[in-house]
């Protein structure tokens, strides 16, 4: 019988309310809570227990693979390596995500290192949510690393969300994009209190027709700190765009450091960054609709991070 805290975290990070029908792996405090393969998706635990290999057969289409992680033991610290091998011409969805419930005084930490190898013309939609909760004063730390290798014509869309409860996070995403492949990243992040979040994107556009679009939207509240580092190298005729858009509130600090390098004359690279508080006129407009100031702020923030 699954504990309520575990069920809640699975719902928060993977929208799971029951066991999925396809392939899945649920990791709880370093162990395997449940695992299932499907006809075309095989999940194999690594021999050292520190992760899994997920192999998706070529031409697999329409499957959703769930690999959520739950840590609810205060003081539990782990580094996990998950490797994804996506065959040619696949079109699949992968739902990851990690939640920490910490009612104790000790640090709980999960560092998930995910490496994706997408075969020719494969398409992956990858969603990961990070979430923390619990009444203890023990820190909740998540340091996800995502490395993506896209073969010719492959497409990956990564949606990464961290909305609440994580005290410290260092998020690293690296992409190597080959001919006619596309890597899209959409990040949504909110920090409050004394939380700290560092996000690093490093995308290498190596093939002709390679493209990337990295979009980060964040809200920093309280005394929190956010740092956004974005690096795109255009090494071929390619197109790259990165965008950091942050709302800053209270005494928070947001830092955006863009870096775009064109190593080829036909590399077209753009970076946009905007940091600012909620516009007073936005609040006034919503107040004229009958919302009070706090409700107006909440609607603006929720809409921005939706």
């Amino acid at each position: 019988m699954m504990k309520t805290t575990v069920k809640n975290i699975l719902r928060m990070v993977a929208d799971l309310t029951s066991m999925p029908t396809g392939a899945f792996n649920i990791r709880l405090n370093g162990g395997c809570e449940a695992r299932q393969n499907s006809e075309h998706v095989t999940i194999t635990p690594k021999e050292n227990g520190l992760g899994i290999d997920i192999a998706v057969e070529p031409n697999t289409r329409g499957e959703v693979v769930y690999i959520p992680v739950v840590v609810d033991a205060s003081g539990f610290v782990e580094t996990v390596y998950n490797d994804f091998f996506i065959g040619e011409n696949c079109d699949v969805e992968i739902v990851a995500g990690c939640g920490i419930h910490n009612d104790g005084h000790s640090l709980s930490q999960h560092d998930g290192i995910h490496t994706f190898h997408l075969g020719k013309n494969a398409r992956v939609k990858y969603a990961e949510k990070h979430y923390g909760e619990g009444d203890g004063d023990g820190q909740r730390v998540l340091n996800p690393v995502t490395e993506v290798y896209l073969d010719e014509g492959a497409y990956m869309e990564m949606e990464t969300v961290q909305i609440e409860g994580v005290d410290s996070t260092n998020r690293v995403t690296r992409g190597v994009v080959n001919k006619n492949a596309t890597f899209v990243v959409k990040e949504k992040l909110m920090t409050s209190g004394k939380q700290r979040a560092t996000t690093t994107f490093d995308v290498q556009l190596n093939g002709e027709g390679a493209s990337t679009n990295v979009i980060s939207r964040s809200v920093a509240k309280g005394d929190s700190f956010q740092e956004f580092l974005s690096k795109i190298d255009g090494n071929a005729p390619c197109a790259g765009h990165s965008e950091c858009d942050a709302i800053i509130m209270d005494n928070a600090c947001v830092k955006a450091v863009p870096e775009i390098t064109a190593n080829h004359v036909d590399a077209s690279l753009i970076h946009e960054a905007a940091i600012g508080k909620i516009a007073g006129e936005q609040i006034v407009k919503l107040m004229t609709l009958g919302l009070n100031r706090e409700e107006a702020e909440a609607e603006i923030v929720n809409g921005f991070l939706k």
């Binding site: 939207r217 004229t288 009070n292 100031r293 609607e299 603006i300 809409g303 921005f304 939706k306």
Partner: protein, 247 residues
């Protein structure tokens, strides 16, 4: 009924001098009246509208709404009492959709049918806009029409439109007049419009002329409009506006 009593509004200029924007305004708007405020640019019309909504606080005077003193109420309280405002330059919201804003305006989850009803009045097809974010991807004209639709959807006792014609193309303007005509005929509340447009003035029950921070004329359309159009001395502002619009 809205009553403005001895309303004044002043701001401090960078050199610390006091600048009077509104000076001792007295104005009563009866229920279900369709009132246009007109006058030269910089005369204080928009400030007056903002003072009614609570966006600006008067430095002196009293505002009564249906007999209740609302002078010190904030925007939210006035909105809840039934005052609504459509901005001259509508604000954009990254992430909030047309549907979400209209749901906030009506305080309920609006369905496709209702969206069609609200948006078609301003010449927009709901299907094209339902999930559109109210962000920089919308043109100024689209944004303006959504702003007007939001206020009409609220169905409040007093609707204030600040220059609704600004940024609207000719075709939409024709429809806008029809919309305002219908609002006037339905008599479901008072409508206060800041406008320079003759065609909007032509459908007014009453016209108020605000110039240099004061009400220089107030009366029925029949009384005021001919004077505005014909009296060269008092209407240079108005003819200049018309020339620029028609150019």
């Amino acid at each position: 009924m809205l009553e403005l009593k001895n309303i004044s509004f002043a701001v401090k200029e960078p050199n610390e001098n006091k600048k009077e924007i509104l000076n001792n305004i007295n104005l009563t708007i009866q229920d279900n009246r369709f009132v246009i405020i007109t006058g030269p640019n910089g005369g204080g019309k928009s400030t007056l509208a903002k003072i009614i909504m609570g966006i600006e606080q008067p430095t002196q005077g009293q505002i009564l709404f249906n007999g209740q003193d609302i002078t010190h109420m904030d925007i939210t309280q006035r909105a809840k009492l039934g005052i609504g405002f459509a901005f001259q330059q509508p604000v954009r919201f990254k992430g909030l959709t047309v549907k979400e804003l209209l749901s906030l305006a009506t305080n309920k989850e609006v369905n496709q049918h209702q969206l069609c009803e609200y948006l078609s009045q301003v010449g927009l097809c709901a299907k094209d806009y339902i999930d559109r974010e109210v962000n920089a991807s919308l043109s100024g004209g689209e944004l303006k029409r959504i702003e007007i639709a939001m206020l009409m959807a609220r169905g409040v006792k007093l609707s204030i439109f600040d220059e609704p014609e600004a940024g609207i193309d000719l075709w939409s303007f024709h429809n806008l007049i029809q919309v305002f005509r219908r609002l006037r005929d339905e008599k479901n509340g008072s409508v206060l419009i800041i406008s320079h447009q003759e065609r909007i003035l032509e459908i007014a029950d009453e016209i108020v002329v605000v110039s240099a921070g004061q009400i220089t004329a107030h009366g029925s359309r029949e009384e005021i409009l001919p004077e505005l159009l014909n009296n060269a001395d008092s209407c240079r502002f108005y003819k200049a506006q018309q020339r620029s619009v028609n150019a």
